[in-house]
């Protein structure tokens, strides 16, 4: 038994509360802010990628039609079949874009939680978004190999300030399983998307090269606009290696899923988050180099 002079002056209940608040999960919200930022950046990149894929698919079809028309007049029925095929592709890509938007909004709200900017409305919105994400993910999975598993978690009750910051971890931990499953679905879709984008981009580049570079140069008359010809040739050559970086999207999804897995294990792997950010930057650079990023897109 301790002598009276060594007894703590604090009541036991206060010690328990202080100890609980001082646990590593609540001492710093910075890792969870980074996770939320990486997640939002990743989702933004997937959205940009979906838009770029849609542009490439339609432009690729147009290039094919024009190429065919140069050899033999294309009929209306063929044009309609290409239109129909493109519309189908656009619908699939729109589903992916919707999913990406929901995921981006979700991670932004988690970022608000981590930064202590959140109130009860954020918690309710998070709950609704998580359910919507699961529904959107289910739409992506429904026809695929991955089995759909309902996993919507109820809304997190939250306050503001310090307690709210702690809840970023709670929210991400509670939702980690759902998010990992969504990311696994996206990894597969993105790998397939990369292949189709590469195919469309390569064909488009080959056809453009023929029109803009080869034909004017081989024609008997001198190139009409040499500056333009040089710029076109350079742009086409620059765009080709950039396509390799489209594979970064599937890598980013896998890294983010692994980071969430480490979070569920009690220790967030920050190196994985750095990989996500690096891959997201690579996607942006690739879309820029290929002239496929629209103004205002992440």
């Amino acid at each position: 038994m301790l002598p009276p002079t060594h007894r703590s002056p604090w009541p036991a209940a206060v010690i328990v509360v202080v100890a609980a608040l001082a646990t590593p999960a609540c001492t710093s919200s910075a890792p969870y802010r980074r996770l939320a930022e990486a997640g939002a950046a990743y989702a933004g990149a997937v959205g940009s990628l979906s838009t770029a894929a849609a542009t490439l698919a339609v432009d690729g079809s147009s290039a094919r039609l024009l190429q065919d028309d140069a050899l033999a007049n294309v009929d209306l029925q063929t044009l309609r079949r290409f239109d129909e095929e493109d519309s189908h592709r656009l619908a699939v890509l729109a589903r992916l874009a919707t999913h990406a938007r929901l995921m981006r909004r979700y991670f932004s709200l988690v970022g608000d939680l981590a930064a202590g900017r959140a109130g009860r409305t954020t918690a309710t919105a998070l709950g609704r978004l998580a359910a919507a994400l699961d529904t959107a993910g289910e739409a992506l999975r429904r026809t695929g190999a991955g089995a759909g598993v309902a996993a919507a978690v109820g809304p997190v009750q939250t306050g503001a300030g310090f307690y709210g910051r702690c809840l970023a971890r709670k929210e991400l931990t509670a939702r980690a399983g759902t998010l990992r499953r969504e990311l696994a679905t996206q990894t597969d879709v993105l790998a397939a998307l990369e292949q189709s984008m590469r195919r469309d981009a390569e064909l488009l580049a080959a056809v453009r090269r023929q029109w803009l570079v080869v034909d004017p140069l081989l024609a008997e008359a001198p190139v009409a606009d040499p500056e333009r010809w040089m710029a076109d040739r350079r742009a086409l050559l620059d765009a080709a290696p950039a396509l390799d970086e489209l594979a970064a999207a599937a890598r980013a999804a896998a890294s983010l899923a692994t980071a969430l897995e480490t979070l569920a294990g009690g220790r967030l792997d920050l190196a994985r988050l750095d990989e996500v950010v690096t891959d997201v930057e690579a996607i942006g650079a690739a879309l820029d180099a290929a002239g496929l990023r629209r103004e205002g897109q992440p």
Partner: protein, 109 residues
């Protein structure tokens, strides 16, 4: 051959059919041959596009069943394209490949 590998090979065939080399070779051919190439090439592009969309939806499940036949078809088209001096023969091989592909698309869809 996995589904991804098969699709990659079909894309490669389409890319070769749409190369500047093939385009130039057929520009000098009679109108009938140009028409046959354009019809077959557009058909191949549409089928590959359909398979790509199906892959994005992850529904091209039964692709493996016609794997061997398709392999032979792809090899045939590639072989003919390597000898582009006989465009009419290349068109015949391409037509056979399209027949197989059409069955694949029915299964995948």
């Amino acid at each position: 051959m996995s589904r991804d590998d098969l699709l990659a090979e079909l894309r490669a065939v389409e890319a070769r059919l749409r190369s500047g080399e093939v385009q130039a070779a057929f520009q000098e051919r009679p109108a009938g041959e140009r028409r046959r190439l354009v019809t077959a090439r557009a058909e191949l592009s549409l089928l590959v596009a359909r398979l790509t969309t199906a892959e994005l939806e992850s529904v091209a499940a039964k692709l493996d069943e016609l794997d061997k036949e398709l392999r032979t078809g792809i090899a045939g088209v590639n072989g003919r394209l390597a000898r582009i001096d006989r465009p009419a023969a290349a068109l015949n091989v391409l037509a056979r490949l399209l027949g197989v592909l059409a069955r694949v698309v029915v299964l995948a869809g």
